[in-house]
Subunit: 220 residues, 2 copies
């Protein structure tokens, strides 16, 4: 079992094997649609291995709300789609049974709150993006948030991006083409540099801050 | 103390007075801004009395995510604004202290999950609105959701609306004028009727369903 060590630690600390064994266990292939809006009955899911994307969609477009990592719990009742991004091992239990048997186990709140809080934070940021920002502003915000996990280097802040331009576009409600051309423009204007395929250095965070507030359009 | 009976019951069941007394207690006037984005330190809030609006905003526009009711808990760290809509009594505690002293109290998960889940649901619905629907489609969705709490009458489903056109507009990312004129159009086309100031009857839910999918613009 190749669980992420921190997540595995949280799981083991919070849930004895006797509790884990009450969940149904499934091994799923990449691309499997775990849940669609209005699927019944509502279930609590715990990802043990792999990666799941939480998203909303219509016929034309998909918008990513979050990626779930091993050790994280989620519920199917939110009206979002859940799809395996890679081969995954998933535990699940009907919500009603979870509420009856496990909701008062010590540590359960600490296991559920972080992921629910993170998805809520992402959702609120996405609402602000859609309501208040153009795509350049959204991309600037996205890079500034990523920079918080980055490393300070002489030229600026180095960020590792695990997502493709298409995946970033789905997080921002934009097209892949727009994201790619905005990244090229940022490079041309020396706001960022891209030393490697998944590496990006933010050279001028102050310019990104102004883009976030809507100045990219004016400067274009 | 005029707590909503169900909420008060939940509070009392879940939190003995000894726990409640560890929260700081404030009495706040209508209009008081309880929290703004990036306010520190993060606090857990419990509304005992009154009504709080959770919203995001820029210079031009506000978008409502939810209204908190008595007995509900929330945290200030989400990046949303929190403002008292009426005179309110509020309990609060720093998140770090909450996590240390109360997170493992029995019943705490059941107290926090419903409101967090509801705000997450609202947020996801709002994202779908902003990304996928015109304002007519958003208003149709809003009325169909309200109809779930409505009463069946011979002509259709009667709904009590506690919100003004302006408040509905802020829930949908629209202007008050647009919402008012869409409601008038719905009335003119006998999709709804409005027998009283806060009363609305949905006469043709099937038409609202088609509006929700974007047909209002075509039919206009």
């Amino acid at each position: 079992m190749s669980l992420h060590p921190t997540a595995a630690h949280r799981l083991v600390a919070a849930m004895p094997e006797a509790l884990l064994s009450r969940f149904a266990r499934q091994r799923l292939l990449a691309g499997f649609l775990v849940s669609a809006p209005r699927a019944k009955p509502d279930r609590i899911l715990m990802l043990r291995e792999g990666r799941i994307r939480v998203f909303v969609a219509n016929e034309d477009k998909e918008l990513t709300l979050a990626y779930l990592a091993p050790g994280e719990l989620f519920s199917t009742h939110t009206g979002a789609y859940l799809r395996c991004e890679s081969e995954s091992e998933l535990l699940s239990m009907p919500v009603a049974e979870f509420a009856r048997t496990m909701a008062n186990e010590p540590g359960m709140l600490g296991l559920i709150m972080p992921v629910l809080g993170r998805i809520l934070d992402n959702s609120i940021a996405l609402i602000e993006d859609l309501a208040f920002r153009d795509v350049a502003g959204r991309l600037a915000r996205f890079l500034l948030v990523a920079a918080r996990q980055g490393n300070r280097v002489p030229q600026g802040v180095q960020v590792t991006l695990d997502l493709s331009a298409g995946e970033i576009a789905q997080l921002l409600g934009a097209t892949r083409q727009t994201v790619s051309s905005l990244l090229s423009r940022m490079e041309r204007e020396a706001i960022i540099s891209r030393p490697g395929r998944k590496q990006l250095v933010i050279l001028q965070a102050d310019v990104l801050l102004r883009w976030q507030e809507g100045e990219a359009a004016e400067a274009a």
